[in-house]
Subunit: 396 residues, 2 copies
Amino acid sequence: MEKATQQQTKAHNSQLVLKTIYDQGKVSRAEVARLTRLTRTTVSDAVTDLRTKGLVEEVGYGERARGKAPILLSVVNNSRHLIGVDLASDEFRGAVVNLRGQIIRAVAFPISSPSGEAALALAYKLIDTLLASSDGPVLGIGLGTPGLIDTEAGIVLQAVNLDWQGLPLSQLLTDRYHLPIHLVNDSQAAALAEYIFGGGHSRRNLAVIKVGQGIGAGLVLEGQLFVGDGSSAGEIGHLMVADNGLVCRCGHTGCLETVASAGAIIRRAQTLARGSKESPLSLLAPEAMTLEALGAALEANDPVARQVTAEAGQYLGRAVAMLVSTLNVQHVLLIGSITALGTPLLKVIQQETRRQALATLAEATKIQFGHFGLDAVTLGASALLLTHELGLSFAR
Amino acid sequence: MEKATQQQTKAHNSQLVLKTIYDQGKVSRAEVARLTRLTRTTVSDAVTDLRTKGLVEEVGYGERARGKAPILLSVVNNSRHLIGVDLASDEFRGAVVNLRGQIIRAVAFPISSPSGEAALALAYKLIDTLLASSDGPVLGIGLGTPGLIDTEAGIVLQAVNLDWQGLPLSQLLTDRYHLPIHLVNDSQAAALAEYIFGGGHSRRNLAVIKVGQGIGAGLVLEGQLFVGDGSSAGEIGHLMVADNGLVCRCGHTGCLETVASAGAIIRRAQTLARGSKESPLSLLAPEAMTLEALGAALEANDPVARQVTAEAGQYLGRAVAMLVSTLNVQHVLLIGSITALGTPLLKVIQQETRRQALATLAEATKIQFGHFGLDAVTLGASALLLTHELGLSFAR
């Protein structure tokens, strides 16, 4: 073998050993050899390498099988820091995260008037702040951005709310920070966070639907983030769902976003409230009509709040029915500002999914809210670094 | 290392070497070592093993780089036979296929009155006939069946047209034939055939929509057949697409099958023809209304044929838009009896996809008819054996 190949093999073995220790929590060298099918010598060499790098440590003794009790190995959770960034439409959020997705420091900057240049400057300021607050070696920077992304090239093809078009964000950040940069769509990042750090996913597949200003989905299939041929898997917000529907900002009519995004729901509630004699929501100033106000009204069984929830839930149920029918994914999570509508919304979506997809498929599917609230994209963006920089993949 | 582990490693290396030779066509041992990152000794041992089994042969000399010209290796395409079976609703088809998907012998039996027992007896007869006609070692039997399948357990959960419910087909066939048995949904099998043997798929993702009596999709994602958590990925025929639609055999209303399956299109054409004064189709006896007749009428620009094509195409376009939006898959193939409607149908579907999905995603997607006609499921079912029995996977 040539030398380059030997080094590749060694790096590959090290990654495999690291992944095994990460997945197992605490594990002996012998057990790692058994699980990886590598020889004990190869495992020992890899462990020495990982200990030298500070990624792995010895943490005591396991149960003795025969002879000596084996030394247990564990990943040093704080040995590397991950920078995760969520370039959301309303504010930029970021966090310093450890190898287990624990947030060490979180920062958020509101966006006042987002123009392309100002948004970029704000992103720099956010990352500068996070890097300054990290006291450990940083593995890289992961970013989740709304809109269409070319993941491989690291280019934001189109992010309407940030006024970015064809922005080579990865290159700009590499030049400025000299760190590995990874960029994905925000819904895709959120799906990765829920899958890797959310726990409780016994299945290998997970769909996450993010409903806020926009609507997008993220897919983890066979334990890996799936982005499709053009990096845009999950762009369901502009799927036509309403015949003779409203005009959407994309130029088409009847898109899912025109009937089920946060803005669409609020506008519909304002319209219905104006014509309602029964609903206390009719007394609200239009600008006080928020998803939180609607969520509170739902608890009081307000008729306007119930109707908008039923209407939006029907279309979101269609989106879930579509994911379930297409992918037979048995776990679907909803995240984003829409979760303010709470259990009543979830119930409508569950009912509508059963009505709009084959019953046996729908009944086998758990539909829930996600775990991470506002941190989902940040955590998912940082999780990208585990995959790309440490070679940890998460198929279970 | 323990002995079992050594043998596993050896088998794993042999598979990797076989796959590399299969993918490359003709290749030297040195090149295999480079591509697999295995040592030359390991590759030589694996090649000896594969030649002993008759799977690989030496086929002459390659170009000399330095010193001696290298001996080239190739897979012996006819060294194993695959039995592929398509348990379609109207007839059972099967073929003896070689390792490159070339059909050596094909057989078809029409189904007269399908009851559960009779259908099973006919399947036995078909497989008996195929095995009797094969003169080589048989790697196993792959089957594609309409309906819901538990792929892992090898059970047909529900195949309405064959009157099968919870049938442990894999076990029955294993007991009878003592050969490896693999079972998938027919649309999934067809997708695998188009991906592996269809050529021209530069992308790692492919969606195939089969429209005949039923409607189903098959997905190849990242080079692998994707079946989802419950083996039923692609069950899009019972997704609700029409509000206030017709009642479907599944019990719901407005399913895709009620507006775009072969039967739905023919019934709609019969209805429209009855009321039409301009269409020559109104002169047809109802039982003469077939997709072929509609295809011919389309060429003559018949108004009834045009209308049913526009209507069905709108819903099939919605199905494609859904696949494109969800998966950002850039290659979608249509197969099944619907292809009798030809280019006019394809054009409507292409237009509707652009209208119903985000323009940039739709424009990047090729939508075509498949390559294999009636053989798609048979070939795909046989291709399952390449994956499961020879460890050939097809990510490119």
